[in-house]
């Protein structure tokens, strides 16, 4: 079995078919940007894209994504050199969103998928879509602003 992770084909040893995708990414592939927070699909720290759709990697097995394209926070800006940031990552920096930062990879993955489907979301749509990603540090107001900023092409949209 093979899965594509951040544009690279990864061969899955058969004994690992049933391993949780999150664990596989972190401990087999060595991609540590995707985080464990709860293991039961409730915090969003483990969010990745499977064929472009945001999903909880703690709720998937490796076999579940066979033949599909998995993107993690490390692969978000594409195969380009490290220096290129995705516009949502840039908006996150412009709004100084992260506090401890632990939840932020998951937040960004969810936000990117949201904006891909809905490039100009309403406040309500942002709130709805982002409510599966918990942040104990309380960065929600800045997450919200960063998403609006990214939707507006990176413009500052007044401080609130």
């Amino acid at each position: 079995m093979e899965i594509a992770i951040n544009g690279k084909a990864v061969a899955v040893p058969e004994r690992l078919n049933d391993v949780v995708l999150l664990d596989f990414l972190r401990d087999f592939v060595g991609l540590k940007g995707t985080k464990f927070g709860c293991g039961i699909g409730l915090c969003g720290a483990c969010t990745v894209h499977v064929d472009g759709i945001a999903d909880r990697s703690c709720q998937l097995s490796v076999a579940d994504v066979a033949g599909q394209e998995v993107t993690t926070i490390e692969g978000l800006s594409g195969a380009a050199p490290d220096s290129v940031l995705h516009p949502v990552q840039q908006a996150w920096i412009d709004e100084s969103v992260p506090q401890c930062g632990y939840c932020q990879g998951g937040q960004i993955m969810t936000a990117v998928a949201l904006l891909r489907d809905n490039p100009d979301p309403t406040e309500e749509e942002i709130r709805d879509e982002m409510s599966g990603n918990l942040c104990r540090c309380g960065t929600y107001p800045r997450i919200h602003r960063a998403i609006v900023r990214a939707a507006k092409g990176g413009q500052d949209v007044s401080r609130g």
Partner: protein
């Protein structure tokens, strides 16, 4: 019996050379490098000395300034703020600072990162250390130019000579290590210019919205938290948890687990109450640890109602028996007689968890000559002492590497995962990683205790507080995590300050008394964001609101009237928050507004206005908006301070609406976010934050200072909306509208 593990007296210079820290560049040291004595396996309490700061700031060849930041990063941003202080003294830009989290062999021990002290406690020593380095570099410049140091002027990242020649730090720092010994005389200190103290109004780095140097790493997933540490040849460990607080290991049989493919060893140590497994395959760990047959000796049954019965303020009132009197003056009976409106009420808050998003983890590599630990702890030197003790090694053999924490909030003074990893690594002879899962995080940490308050107070005919009789019970917090043997002695001689934090109201109270008891139960208790400040403020500021309502007074006016004349800063934030919220405007039906205020640790004044809406259809209390004004003196980085305030407001919303742990059969019942909910994005209110910065006020606490008033502001808003009081946290629609 505790065995003392002592750091041998170590001359700081010898220490730096031994550690290999002094690779190159310029380090300033005092001629008398006094080493400090350190208590055995206790958290690190001592405040920093100016001389300690000399080891924190170093000029590297090329002119880069390395800052070994003595505050651990967990999202509060203290390393950024302190970098700005370094930059102010050395006239450098952000990119010229290399701010690193030191390992325990890279600086002398420093105090644990707690109590929002990062800036106020470290501003002065960091400024001192950086200013001393600047003057040492000026001395080198003077020597090079053959001039008196007075003639060498400050420049950008270096100096300017009278003839206009520019000497950058890079021109001055030699490639071989140089230690400049400076005398620590008070005369030299007096002559030392401190730009962080002098340049008020003309700061170049302080007060700027610098962005955190780790932002890009954080948004690209490159930051290495302790959970992300990987070493070559590393094994994976997991520990079997006791099923209840205080359960003792009776016997264990690891044969079935050992027979599993990938399992290297099962470690059973009855004396230590330890059962764990080591595997070279991380994916079998959870199954392997469950395959160990374990028998536990269970402690006496412990349930929620037993704990609540112990921590019941009315029981102690009935016996008129409290351990500590915080304050008392005047004559309560005489005061009570003056009351035209008298009120008595009981307020209760719940057991709560830190629930930081990163469950803790540690990697240990125990070798013959050296022990290394990789962890995220608020007190790496405590971890060093604990690990040395756990595996019976010399303190100097143990080096702790510190990583950014995925949230701390007081819960990571201990890092038990590191100790567990060390025990397993010692047995396996290889590096071992231990990661806690969410259930372990809930079950095996320590908690915020229950608080139970009773207040009897009143107002006179002219709106002044007539009397204030306040009693409460909770558990010791500061000394909560101490080993039992020490704690028993400590309890006898000491009232827990953490439990009492914020219990004294800021108002003028002619006739008053505040008493409390700090009682241990079998539930592990320890620091949680702001310690007692949030539960205590909830009681005090709820009662103030009740008095205002009883007297038919505006709650802002009643507060201002009763504040002593010297409380100008608190009065100013109250007025500012009220103005921000346009206080006094009418709100629609089922909406309400409440205000509360407080002074954190006698330093930081904050006032919060909350607006709530009651959704009868969904049977929910919604917090729609919050306004907060805070005076934390000099603001080193407004961006960070605002972020901390917003974090406090959201934390306070969670505390008010959601957080409650319950105990059954000696274990917590809430073991994941399904039953222990925290506020979501959807539920977060709109927020407006204002910083009040009086001239010449030094920087004070920020990280948990705005939390105190939040829950009371929300409860007061709920009363405004419904005419019903929420006196028990967490509050809920059902609770507010039940007639209990």
């Amino acid at each position: 019996m505790s065995v003392a593990v002592e750091r041998k007296g170590m001359n700081r210079r010898a220490f730096l050379i031994k550690s290999g820290w002094l690779a190159a560049g310029v380090t300033v040291l005092t001629s008398c490098g006094a080493a400090r004595s350190v208590l055995p396996a206790m958290p690190s309490f001592s405040s920093p000395e100016p001389e300690d700061a000399l080891a924190w700031v170093q000029a590297l060849p090329g002119g880069q300034i390395r800052f070994f930041c003595p505050r651990m990063e967990m999202g509060q941003g203290a390393p950024l703020g302190l970098s700005q202080v370094v930059a102010e003294e050395l006239n450098i830009r952000q990119q010229e600072i290399d701010c690193v989290s030191p390992a325990t062999d890279q600086t002398p021990p420093f105090k644990m990162t707690v109590g929002s002290e990062g800036i106020f406690d470290f501003f002065m020593p960091v400024s001192y250390g950086a200013a001393r380095l600047r003057e040492a570099l000026r001395g080198l410049a003077a020597e090079k130019a053959g001039l008196a140091p007075e003639l060498v002027q400050d420049g950008e990242s270096g100096f300017v000579l009278p003839d206009g020649t520019v000497l950058s730090y890079g021109d001055l720092v030699p490639s071989e290590p140089v230690v400049l010994s400076v005398s620590a005389s008070s005369r030299a200190d007096e002559a030392l210019r401190r730009y962080a103290l002098e340049r008020k109004g003309a700061y170049r780095a302080i007060g700027q919205r610098w962005k955190h140097h780790e932002l890009e790493a954080m948004v690209t997933g490159k930051t290495v938290y302790s959970r992300d540490v990987t070493l070559a040849g590393m094994l994976y460990g997991q520990v079997r948890r006791p099923p209840a607080f205080g359960a003792r290991l009776q016997s264990a049989n690891g044969r079935a687990a050992e027979a599993m493919a990938g399992v290297n060893a099962v470690v059973i140590d009855k004396g230590r109450n330890f059962v764990g497994v080591v595997s070279d395959n991380p994916f079998v760990l959870a199954t392997a640890v469950q395959a160990i047959e374990v028998e536990w000796e269970m402690p006496e049954e412990l349930n929620q109602d037993q704990i609540e019965a112990v921590l019941d303020v009315e029981k102690y009132r009935a016996q008129n028996d409290f351990e500590h009197e915080l304050t008392a003056a005047g004559d309560i009976e005489a005061g009570r007689a003056q009351a035209v409106h008298r009120n008595t009420a009981r307020y209760d808050t719940s057991l709560a968890a830190h629930a930081q998003m990163e469950p803790r983890a540690g990697v240990a590599w125990v070798r013959k000559d050296k022990v290394e630990i990789w962890c995220g702890s608020q007190d790496p030197f405590f971890v060093q002492r604990r690990v040395a003790k756990a595996i019976n090694r010399n303190l100097d053999d143990v080096v702790v590497h510190s990583h950014r924490m995925g949230g701390g909030f007081g819960g990571r003074v201990l890092c038990l995962a590191s100790e567990e990893a060390a025990v397993l690594s010692a047995a396996a002879g290889k590096p071992v990683r231990v990661q806690w899962d969410r259930e372990t995080e809930f079950q095996s940490s320590y908690f915020q205790p229950i608080f139970s308050h009773f207040i009897d107070a009143g107002v006179t005919s002219d709106g002044r507080i007539s009397h204030w009789e306040h009693d409460f019970v909770s558990s010791p917090i500061m000394t909560g995590p101490m080993p039992k043997s020490i704690a028993m002695v400590v309890d006898r001689v000491m009232a827990d300050e953490g439990t009492a934090r914020g219990a004294l109201s800021p108002y003028q109270l002619p006739d008053h008394r505040v008493r409390y008891s700090d009682i241990r139960t079998a539930v592990p208790i320890g620091p949680w964001r702001a310690l007692g400040a949030a539960p205590n403020n909830f009681a005090v500021e709820s009662m103030i609101d009740e008095l205002a309502v009883a007297a038919g007074m505006d709650p802002v006016k009643l507060r201002l009237l009763n504040l002593p004349p010297e409380a100008v800063r608190l009065a100013a934030v109250l007025e500012r928050a009220a103005a921000l919220a346009d206080w006094g405007q009418t709100v629609p039906e089922d909406w309400g507004r409440g205000i509360a205020c407080g002074v954190y640790k006698g330093q930081t004044a904050a006032a919060v206005v909350a607006e709530v809406r009651v959704d009868h259809k969904a049977r929910q209390l919604l917090i729609t908006s919050m306004w907060c004004a805070q005076d934390c003196g000099l603001v080193v980085n407004p961006d960070q301070v605002e972020a901390q305030i917003m974090g406090n407001l959201i934390w306070g919303c969670t505390m008010a609406l959601k957080e409650r742990l319950t105990v059954a059969a000696g274990a917590v019942q809430e073991r994941n976010f399904d039953r222990y909910e925290i506020l979501t994005h959807r539920e977060a209110p709109e927020m407006t934050v204002a910083l009040v910065e009086p001239p010449d006020a030094p920087p004070v606490a920020v990280g948990e200072s705005a939390l105190g008033p939040v829950a009371a502001a929300i409860a007061n808003a709920v009363f405004d909306a419904t005419g019903r009081r929420a006196r028990r946290l967490p509050m809920s629609y059902e609770g507010v509208f039940s007639d209990g």
